[in-house]
């Protein structure tokens, strides 16, 4: 486990050495803050609109950060040949990938803490109270990033970074495609195509489960059990993706 932690630390240091990382975090913070000072939505729903827009900005920027850190993580190490001294050590490829995944999850988690810290601070200054339920959305954002990074890691072993980017983005949007729409489509296509659509929907990460924003914004209660369920779902799904990534990575001739 100490090897995994060492690799995670190496990944964190690598992420912190990127200028683009700071630019994306700074842009996210500016936009989260900017939403509060934009006066466009003074239409009676301001509080909800501001929260909605801020949470959306955080969602988009956490996804951008995850992709920024994951897409090049393995291909660059292969290209720069820095992977060889690492793999020459008594270290399995599973430990290598787990360390990378852990490092990225920690960096994204720290960035999300910054985003949500600013959001809560601004909401406190504006409304005089901390909207604690919003932290539930922070957990969902982080879990989503973990699933997306695992998905991207799996693809980075198999395809080039541009293809990886396209496939991950497609999986992200299909994952957010509401079940209601899928059921609507299923009722209007032949059973064979329906089976394909249903299997694809079942196999792809169901990120819709992690989208609790609307429910939070309308103040509907969310059971703590639901958070346990989605955490289990996201971590188990990432586990399967990580296993597949290890499987293909071990077969890769390095």
């Amino acid at each position: 486990m100490s090897d995994v932690w060492l690799l995670a630390r190496y990944q964190i240091e690598e992420a912190l050495a990127k200028k683009l990382f700071y630019i994306v975090v700074l842009m996210g913070l500016v936009l989260v803050g900017g939403v509060f000072f934009a006066n466009t939505f003074e239409l009676g729903h301001q509080g909800r609109v501001v929260r909605d827009a801020s949470l959306s900005v955080i969602g988009v920027f956490s996804l951008a950060l995850t992709l920024l850190l994951t897409l090049q993580a393995i291909p660059r190490e292969i290209e720069n040949r820095t992977i060889y001294p690492i793999l020459a050590r008594p270290l399995s490829r599973f430990q290598y990938l787990l360390g990378k995944e852990l490092g990225i999850a920690l960096v994204v988690g720290a960035s999300l803490s910054l985003f949500y810290g600013l959001l809560l601070l601004l909401l406190f200054l504006k409304e005089g109270s901390f909207p604690v339920p919003l932290l539930g959305n922070a957990l969902c954002n982080w879990l989503e990033c973990v699933v997306i990074s695992s998905f991207s890691f799996l693809l980075s072993v198999l395809v080039s970074p541009p293809l990886n980017f396209c496939f991950t983005i497609v999986a992200y949007f299909l994952g957010h495609f509401p079940v209601v729409y899928v059921n609507y489509i299923l009722g209007r296509i032949p059973p064979v195509s329906g089976f394909v659509v249903e299997t694809a929907k079942f196999a792809l990460p169901q990120l819709e489960y992690l989208d609790i924003k609307t429910t939070l914004l309308y103040g509907d209660p969310i059971s703590p059990l639901y958070f346990v369920e989605i955490t289990l779902y996201a971590l188990l799904y990432s586990g399967v993706l990580l296993y597949l990534a290890v499987l293909f990575f071990e077969r890769k001739d390095l």
Binding site: F41, L43, Q72, L91, P162, F165, I212, Y218, V240
Partner: protein, 95 residues
Amino acid sequence: MREKGGRLSGRHVALLAGLVFLFLFSQGQKHVTYLYGGAEREVKFLSLMINIDKQPCALPGEDRRLFLRIAILVLVNLLLWRRLIARDRRGIKGP
């Protein structure tokens, strides 16, 4: 789209990001009408960004499908990882 052995150049990233943004913008723009002070005001925004006009709804995962998915994933993880961890303990470090 490849350059220097599959590495993404800044231009490619910008192009891809632009295409994704254009796609989202063309797909997701919608009109949201608010009643404020007796007058209607309309706001156009990306549907992915603003969903103020959505009705409150039950969480998508609050059905049996989530339980089913978790159960299947527990089984799949147990089956897959048992083999890999056992092999890792035996000291086989890749091919």
